[in-house]
């Protein structure tokens, strides 16, 4: 189903329009045995629809912040160097920074589903997060402090070689830098969690571009009827994944001129 590229088509109306198509049973190939699996992997369904790069229009992050975020996400989930064993895209090509930007700029960043009444007492690890910062405040505070800290030493994070970037991320993870009240380990934990979310969540949220992460795993995505397949044991289920916003062919139709649109 191809939607008209009318300028007033919003993401919401796209999703609703596309929903009717999801009831179409997608083509399924069942391939038995490991040799065939390898063969099937070689013919893994190509990324559907459009090979445009992931969205990189940032509404929440400023330039200094996004340089850190893009580089850090790519170290957390790196792209593979080309070669026979390459798994595919890393966080950057998957659009994870775009996902983070939309989450932090929206309700989640503002403290959605976070109880925000004091008093603010730091408890035990069993008691969990007890800081007054919303995710957006926490990222802003930590990123400003990180960039200030690194500027005193020399190159910014994005200019460091990969091994030095990893060392710095490990220091955030393990050492307790105090970033104006944000313990670096808390920031690192939130960054890592959101990077994994952005990598694996449905592409309608701006990451997992072209469902690269789902293809990597062989996860068929949001929709499938496995009634006939479930008791065909040990047989790989081979099908291009479906997004919640996909049509029956697995195509995502993007209004690229709308920043909040899926990418």
């Amino acid at each position: 189903m191809k939607l008209p590229a009318a300028p007033n088509v919003t993401r919401r109306s796209f999703v609703v329009s596309a929903s009717a198509a999801t009831v179409i049973p997608p083509a399924v190939a069942l391939v038995a045995g490991s040799a065939q699996v390898a063969a099937a992997a070689a013919h893994h369904p190509a990324p559907a629809a459009h090979a445009t790069p992931a969205e990189r229009i940032y509404l929440f992050f400023n330039v200094a912040e996004v340089q850190f975020i893009e580089a850090a996400c790519e170290r957390l989930i790196p792209a593979d160097e080309p070669g026979a064993a390459a798994l595919g895209a890393g966080a950057l090509a998957a659009g994870v920074p775009n996902y983070l930007d939309k989450q932090l700029g929206g309700a989640w960043g503002a403290g959605e589903r976070l109880y925000r009444s004091g008093p603010w007492i730091q408890g035990t690890p069993s008691q969990g997060y007890q800081l007054p910062f919303t995710p957006a405040e926490l990222f802003r505070t930590a990123l400003r402090a990180i960039n200030t800290e690194l500027a005193k030493r020399g190159p910014q994070f994005s200019e460091l070689p990969a091994a030095a970037q990893d060392d710095y991320l490990k220091s955030l993870e393990k050492d307790n830098h105090d970033f104006d009240g944000v313990p670096s380990a808390v920031f690192f934990d939130m960054l890592l969690k959101m990077t994994v979310e952005g990598f694996f969540s449905d592409p309608v949220y701006g990451g997992n571009h072209d469902m690269v992460a789902w293809r990597m795993l062989g996860f068929p995505g949001a929709y499938a009827d496995y009634y006939e397949a479930i008791d065909r044991h040990g047989v790989k289920f081979e099908r291009a994944p479906l997004s919640i916003g996909a049509d029956g062919h697995g195509h995502l139709h993007v209004q690229s001129e709308i920043p909040a649109s899926v990418g």
Partner: protein
Amino acid sequence: MVQQLKEVDVVVIGVGMVGSILAKELAAAGYKVVGLERGNTRFTVPEFQSPGIHDELRFDVRKALMQDNTREPVTFRNTSSQTGLPIRRWESFLPGTGLGGSMVHWNGQTYRFQANDFELATRTRERYGQGFLDPDITIQDWGVTYDELEPHYDRFEYLLGTSGKAGNLKGQIQPGGDPHESPRSREYPTPPQKEHYSGALFRKAANSLGYHPFPQPSSNLSQPYTNPEGLKMNTCVFCGFCERYACEHYAKSTPQTFILPVLLANPNFELRTGCQVQRINLDSTKQRATDVTYIDNAGREFEQPASLVITCLFAINNIRMLLLSGIGKPYDPATGKGVVGRNYAYQTMSTVASFFDEDVIVNPFMASGASGTLINDFAGDNFDHSGLGFIGGAFIGAVNTNGRPIQYHPTPPGTPAWGKGWKNAVVKHYNHTIMFSLHGSSVSQRQNYADLDPTYKDAWSQPLLRITFDFPKNDLKMAEYVTARGVEIGKAMGAKQVAGTPRKAPYTTQQYQTTHNTGGTVMGNDPSTSVVNRYLQSWDVPNVFVIGASAYPQNASWNPTGTLGALTYWVADALKNEYLKNPGRLVSP
């Protein structure tokens, strides 16, 4: 300005599984029933439909169907020497909200407890002697027996259409079922769901070790079913979006599929949503409830008088409702006196991960929430605990429920948390790993309880519930023991690497374990150790009934919902046949 409403026969607080079944029974018997639900109205159509419903980020990670913790969280601490702090985001357990309650997002695992569980204190003493238990353990008998509940279990399973295989029909052991189960009067209403590959491999390995594997009883149905209420349900297609989601297919049994259409068609019943009940009000004797106070979504306050008040909330919310209403004496762990909040317990969850080579393709995403294969050989008191130093146990099973990748991407121990090593391991193991759940029992213990928090408030300025809990030594020993058995099964499956993770202390609110919170308004035959009698009637205020897993004196080795369904029908019969004909105490204190 508080608006006074017209008196009704019955007010039901919370229109989830318990509330909808009870309201249906009482409305059909001719009583005027008002159901007060804090959340929204919602049905399979249109609320549970695509494209919105299969959204892992929204439902799994952000927990869209859960109790609004920005307005109504709980506070938590491991021990009473600590300060209770709010659980600012749900993680360890996930109470739901809205019409249909937590059952809307359940997995459909529908067990019965065993005869032993209902008389646990007596039978443990009989079998293992007086001094077997740690003196801090406060397990007790339920005041109701399995035989008394059996017809009600049966009725509940036929309401839901549960898919399974009987293992014990009237004392006759049945091939293919669970030989350890207590006798059931007839077969499950529908046959078991199809077995996934993980379950088949588990079955073979468990058989080779001399255990007794059987199909998990599932309320995600194996075939179309029409229940005794005349409501039709569909066959589950194993889409792998059960727990934390609502079912779009009419295949998972929830109040929306098995009772609400009948209830809502009865003019004796009135549903009011968006009603946050503040308290049950008592008369000057403090022995009779007169009405309940609630505040609606627009902030308006109402008083709804009723002859009978039934609180049907999620376990922890039942406790809080009684504490806010001054019904029953709050428990004091220092003296051991008092009852409300006493015997708060949980579930002791451990896991075993079996990692295979790439030739074993398990397709983890093909699953229902209850399509596993398991054994009860190490559950409850199905094995001799002499010399083991603990009671209880766990079912062990390949009960994989999904392959949704944000939450499910198992890696072997030693895998880095990020970077190339992490990515490689995630991709390598995603489709070649079998996870066992070891679903362990939970003893009640003197130090574990719930009370009102002295500091933190909800959005209506009422004190939050405070939970004080850590895993009893008994349960940690149990977890070690059953995990070792699970690892043996993983090895017998031929896995390349098997990693057992027995549950360890301290209990943390930061990792999902299970939403099987129990206790705090415990049932029993002794008012000094129970909040409600064996019909779940308040000892102190006899026109208040408190129904939920909060009634369990301790938690058994299985998911609690089946037993709660049985208790619901048990109470419904007591209300219809006795209480409502002649209101008063059903049991003399």
